[in-house]
């Protein structure tokens, strides 16, 4: 259990804070009965200690540098009225609240916590339920969103919001969060130099993580599972994606990860497991794919449109229905030294590298692109015969798409 | 015992039996003879229920045989070609047939008679044709059914075994049984049978004792009598 630890942590924090500054205490039987009241009373750099209880408040505006600490997760109930907390000052910390019932609107993106044009914020240990948007960072830099739990119940895209959203915000760290049941778990737009680490984004309606026009970001060791469409990385440059797990994104338009117009990225050490498509790539160039595992996906990698100068090295392709699928006859990408479980060649000189090249694109994948219903003929003898003849003399698939150094054993 | 009325059977467009009537209601050995294609085997198989007639009725022991299989308890049959599941041993085959029929049997005497003891633990596929026929005979004679049907029983038998076979047939006749035999060996037929049933073009052409047949054809031995009877219709 996390809570006892958290409790001690909060308690310790609370006692240390008390040593040097007397906090403003908020509780149902206290002099100060609401958070808005306390914020109004406080001066810069005060600490507000909110005791356990239910506070029916919304539009709480934090316009000075304050530290808000919830003791034993006090509940802030917005009663579906609109936005709950808005931070418009630098150096604000919000820590340890249970926030529910954010108002839903078709015109305004109400959020549980919105940070506007502020710096050095810290939002941590927040539990969100019944939300529209969760934590919304707007033109705010150098902050941290840490260890929050966002549980949405989104059913339709048009009336649901994102768990954590960054808009024109730079140098923010998003880590140890759990986001589920939102529209997009984590959404970035025009946000650069962001670190997204160790989050778990699952069961979201659309994407577990969604990048748009955001450069130089890093995301590592996150888990994305069973999201409507997986993870989408679009129109962004120099993104580093490492050690993430993309699992069980199933459906006609679902993939572990979608790369669209992505250049100069590095994708390494990730695991793509049991997705309809492991990575769906469109118009992405100079990407280095290294040491990733593609396990039991429908398509390990599906390449659409022009993709140039990408390299795939030391990846494991294990038991995918199709390892690689191309929709054109052109190939400008390099596949070298990967392990392919479907490889049937031999290694006579025992150097660990197969003596015949491996052709990861099967004719059947081309047929399925043309006639999707043909998928029911997967693994039939007829298809094996056709694939074999295509392997011998490629007509429909790129003939230079070869791994000339297929490994005989898995990359560990 | 056996009562057949208006039996018709065609194979394709080729009529084999056309309105055959036959009644056998006493014991004795009945030799069913006739030229090739006269319908002997079809008649026997119809009685056994192996061939389904197009028209007509067959009763065995007073019971109509249509959609019936229990009446075969009353029949012991020796098929023409003795071929058995190759991987079974002789002993197992005998046990199996006993197991299937669930009737009292005296196979031990017959095994001794035909000196089959050394073969009991041999697989059927390793036996010679004659030995297989001996096993076949054991299977047919080991039960005590009132009706016996023997289709070419002499095939492949050595003289000693042939003598044993004739003894067995005689013995069965003395036990007041009805025995139907087909054979090409007229000497054998003359030796064992009481009544000749001669089939021609799908019907009974002659039924009576060997003596009656000789008288009718004016021949002195059975072989010539049969040959004469077979040629007469074409001159008629």
């Amino acid at each position: 259990m996390q809570y006892p630890k958290l409790f001690i942590f909060v308690l310790v924090l609370f006692t240390t804070v008390e040593l040097w500054a007397k906090p403003i205490v908020v509780c149902e039987s206290c002099v100060v009965k609401s958070i808005s009241e306390a914020v109004a009373l406080a001066i810069d750099f005060d600490t507000l200690l909110v005791k356990k209880g239910t506070y029916k408040e919304y539009n709480i505006l934090i316009d000075k540098p304050l530290t808000l600490i919830g003791e034993n997760y006090p509940i802030i109930d917005g009663e579906d009225q609109g936005e709950i907390i808005r931070i418009v000052s630098d150096n604000v910390t919000v820590d340890g609240f249970f926030i529910v019932n954010v108002g839903t609107s078709y015109t305004t993106d109400y959020a549980a916590i919105r940070v506007v044009k502020s710096k050095n914020f810290l939002i941590q240990n927040i539990v969100l339920e019944k939300l529209f948007f969760g934590i919304y960072l707007e033109k705010s830099n150098h902050g941290k969103v840490y260890h929050n739990k966002i549980i949405g119940d989104a059913i339709d895209e048009y009336n649901s919001g994102n768990g954590i959203q960054l808009w024109y915000s730079d140098h923010v760290e998003v880590s140890q969060n759990i986001v589920q049941g939102a529209r997009d778990g984590i959404y970035l737009e025009f946000s650069d130099n962001i670190t997204i680490h160790n989050n778990k984004s699952t069961n979201n309606l659309r994407y577990g993580l969604h990048f748009m026009f955001s450069d130089d970001d890093v995301y590592t060791d996150n888990i994305f599972e069973n999201n409507g469409a997986g993870v989408a990385v679009m129109f962004s440059k120099r993104i580093k994606m490492k050690g993430n797990t993309f699992r069980k994104n199933w459906g006609p338009a679902a993939f572990g990860m979608l790369l669209k117009e992505i250049n100069d990225a590095e994708i390494s050490g990730n695991t793509f497991e049991e997705n309809t498509i492991g990575i769906h790539i469109e118009g992405s160039n100079r990407i280095e794919y290294k040491a990733n595992n593609f396990v039991k996906n429908g398509w390990g990698i599906k390449v659409l449109g022009a993709c140039y100068a990408n390299t795939f090295r030391a990846n494991n392709f294990l038991y995918n229905s199709f390892d690689i699928s191309y929709n054109s006859k052109l190939n400008d990408n390099v596949f070298d030294g990967n392990y392919w479980s479907a490889y049937t060649g031999y290694d006579l000189d025992k150097n660990g590298i197969g003596d015949v090249p491996y052709r990861p694109v099967k004719l059947f994948s081309y047929i399925v692109n043309q006639t999707p219903e043909a998928i029911v003929l997967l693994r039939s003898l007829f298809m094996d015969i056709i694939d074999f003849s295509e392997k011998v003399s490629p007509v429909f698939t790129p003939d230079n798409l070869l791994d000339t150094n297929p490994l005989m054993t898995k990359v560990q | 015992m056996i009562h057949i009325e208006g039996l018709h059977k065609k194979f394709g467009k080729n009529p084999v039996l056309s309105g055959l009537d036959l009644t056998i209601n006493k014991e004795g050995v009945f030799a069913v003879l006739g030229p090739n294609g006269s319908g002997k085997t079809t008649l026997i198989k119809s009685i056994l229920g192996m061939v389904v007639p197009d028209k007509g009725t067959i009763s065995v022991q007073g019971e109509p045989i249509k959609k019936n299989w229990k009446y075969r308890k009353e029949i012991d049959y020796l098929p023409q070609i003795a071929n058995f599941p190759g991987n079974l041993k002789v002993r197992e085959l005998i046990r199996m047939i006993k197991d299937l029929r669930q009737s009292p049997s005296d196979e031990d005497r017959l095994i001794a008679l035909f000196k089959l003891e050394p073969f009991l633990d041999k697989k059927l596929s390793t036996l010679s044709g004659g030995t297989k026929q001996k096993v076949n005979i054991v299977l047919a004679f080991m039960f005590d059914s009132p009706l016996l049907i023997l289709d070419e029983p002499t095939t492949g038998l050595d003289p000693a075994s042939l003598i044993h076979l004739k003894e067995l047939i005689r013995e069965q006749r003395e036990m007041k049984k009805t025995i139907l035999i087909t054979s090409h060996i007229m000497q054998f037929v003359a030796e064992v049978s009481d009544v000749i049933v001669y089939l021609l073009e799908g019907n009974i052409y002659f039924k009576g004792s060997i003596e009656a047949l000789k008288t009718k054809t004016g021949q002195t031995d059975l072989e010539h009598a049969i040959a004469a009877i077979a040629t007469r219709p074409s001159h008629a």
């Binding site: 429908g298 038991y319 006639t371 219903e373 003929l377 003898l381 | 389904v52 098929p79 197992e92």
Partner: protein, 269 residues
Amino acid sequence: MRPLQLDLAMLKILKYSFYDLIRSRWSYVYFLFYLLLGFVLLFLNNDVSKAIITLMNVIILLVPLIGTIFGIMYFYNSKEFTELLLAQPIKRSSIFLGQYFGVAGSLTLSLVLGLGIPFVLYGLFKSDAIFDFTLLLVTGAFLTLIFTVLAFNIALSNENKIKGFGYAVLLWLFLAVIYDGLFLMSLILFKEYPLDSFSLGATMLNPIDLSRTLILLKLDISALLGYTGAVFKKFFGTDQGLLISMLMLVLWTVLPIWRLVSVAKKKDF
């Protein structure tokens, strides 16, 4: 009429046919082949997932072929024995069902033991591939039952051995390869039209495709769910696919058995 009525005589004939077959050299060859295949796949490759995929390929091709050939050979070779049985006080249905289940049973046993032993020794029960493997064996058993009875039907309707054998091998070739070729061609020809009901229907009408689909449901569900059609989605995305496929396999077994019995009843021997 109760074509599937079990009775004592049938069980006896089943027992003897079964004994006869499990003592034949070919049953051992068949059994040893699977045993060897299982050991090679598991202990040399050391990769259960890969072993299951290879086994699937073997099962959907070899099992029908062996079932067909064994079925047709057994039927023709036991012609005289069948005639001997026909003269016994036994119902015809008992004779043919007994022989059929004897052949299909011994083939199934060779398959299940031959593959089962190496997998058990490998420690399959501790692995999560147990379900996939069980499904493979169940499918293999069904294919044995189906193709043996199809072969029996062909043999029953063709007195001429060479013809019967030819038809049986053609049937296998048709269902294993040609059918899928025609299937694919019609998909490509009519790709402008919605084809998901057609393609599922065509799959149901071929027991080999049906078995393959059952295995695909386990091995390639990620790919199958990539298709947009609602019928596909319902079929592959829910338990419906498994249930319908199983039901169709049962039909594929029961209907030819029913035909076998009803034709055998009217046939002259």
